[in-house]
């Protein structure tokens, strides 16, 4: 981010950067920066709150009035992440012959379809679209049970992107199953990894890959770094 600020400014563009890690801006001196202590992944702070987003932009654009740079100021509002799993109902067991995570994913399909219809977009599909999510979970279940990760039939052989798609599928579906404002930053992540069968499968597969000596990046980036 700060590197881009320097480069774009040097190319004749006036830049204002929202900053999510203050110490980096302090060391890199971008021309104009507004530090926003908001949940990582939410640079405008509050999903669904247009007034707050406009306030962030107004304060950022105000930095254009500075006669010289670098200038680094703070947005006065701090929004902390919420690591408590959001309250979101999961589908009841339907097919006793299916693995629990597979049954669960199938049960979320209508909610995911509604989410895509409501928003006109989805981040599911880097390697596995919605139709392929149950099979992707079956591959992870096999890995957790001891199958070599390179032979488990992961979509495109890619565990990181497989989990990206599974997690996006769950989090997008969940938006249709909870009332009220969007969950706090990381509350959906906590729900996925701590409350769902799929999250448990991902973590079990990750542990199995680590224990089997899989190259570290391929298992490590299946889940946030602070999750064991």
């Amino acid at each position: 981010m700060c590197v881009l600020s320097h480069g774009l400014e040097a190319a004749g563009l006036a830049t204002v950067a929202l900053i999510s890690v203050r110490s980096v801006a302090e060391r890199m001196h971008p021309p104009r920066a507004l530090y926003c202590e908001f949940p990582l992944g939410r640079p405008l702070g509050a999903p669904g709150d247009a007034a707050f987003q406009r306030d962030v932009m107004t304060k950022a654009f105000a930095l254009l009035d500075a006669p010289s740079g670098p200038v680094l100021t703070d947005h006065p509002t701090v929004i902390e992440a919420d690591e408590t799993p959001m309250a979101c109902a999961l589908p009841p067991r339907f097919d006793p012959d299916a693995a629990a995570a597979v049954d669960e994913a199938r049960g979320l399909r209508r909610a995911h379809d509604r989410s895509v219809a409501a928003r006109g977009r989805t981040s599911v599909g880097r390697v596995a679209g919605p139709d392929a999510i149950p099979a992707a979970l079956e591959a992870l279940i096999d890995i957790a049970a001891g199958t070599d990760w390179t032979e488990a039939g992961l979509p495109e052989g890619d565990p990181i992107s497989t989990v990206h798609d599974i997690r996006a599928y769950y989090e997008e579906a969940a938006l249709e199953l909870v009332d009220g404002p969007a969950p706090g930053g990381r509350a959906a992540e906590a729900w996925f990894f701590e409350a769902t069968e799929a999250g448990a499968v991902v973590m079990a597969a990750r542990r199995a890959m680590k224990d089997a000596g899989a190259p570290q990046p391929f298992w490590f980036y299946m889940a946030p770094g602070h999750r064991r």
Binding site: V3, A60, A168
Partner: protein, 167 residues
């Protein structure tokens, strides 16, 4: 495929962790950053007359465009009208549900349109830019190749002011 280059996994693992965000901010504190001896400073055109573009590092792309790879140092151009956007970031270490719920919390294109309609900014740029936030440590390509190429595309579109949003 390729793994993300966002952060040394061993560093992440060795840290005592309080929360995910704190862990990532602590990690960012500990990593070396490129040094700049000087800070370029372009005198801005009055905002009410300026063409404004968004540059994000959220690795978002239109759903029919090529996604980002794990070591992607390039960028995607986002047409002003497009809202069918996917999050292609390779890092699992940030909230994604905000983007899923509301595009503007990452890529405030609707807010920018409102500011243009209100006369606060002059014009919304026809194209916006998306990079991946996870880059090789030396960020050489962004500094020397893809960054200048993005700047050229923005200047071609008459952009005066850029709002950068990080992920």
């Amino acid at each position: 495929m390729g793994p993300t280059s966002e952060a040394p996994a061993a560093v992440c693992q060795a840290r005592p962790v309080t929360t995910g965000d704190q862990a990532m901010r602590d990690l960012a504190d500990s990593l070396p950053v490129p040094e700049f001896d000087t800070t370029a400073f372009t005198p801005p055109k009055p905002l009410a007359e300026a063409t404004v573009a968004i540059v994000t590092t959220a690795a978002i792309h239109t759903m029919d465009d090529e996604g980002f790879t794990g070591f992607d140092t390039g960028f995607r151009l986002l047409d002003r009208e497009r809202r069918d956007l996917a999050l292609g970031h390779w890092s699992p270490n940030f909230d994604r549900s905000g983007f899923a719920a509301d595009l503007d919390v990452v890529y405030p294109i609707d807010r920018l349109e409102e500011l243009a309609a209100a006369g606060v900014i002059g014009r919304v740029a026809p194209r916006h830019v998306s990079f991946a936030g996870n880059q090789p440590d030396d960020v050489a390509t962004v500094r020397l190749d893809s960054g200048p190429a993005a700047a050229e595309a923005l200047r071609h579109d008459g952009v005066d002011v850029v709002l950068l949003t990080p992920v």
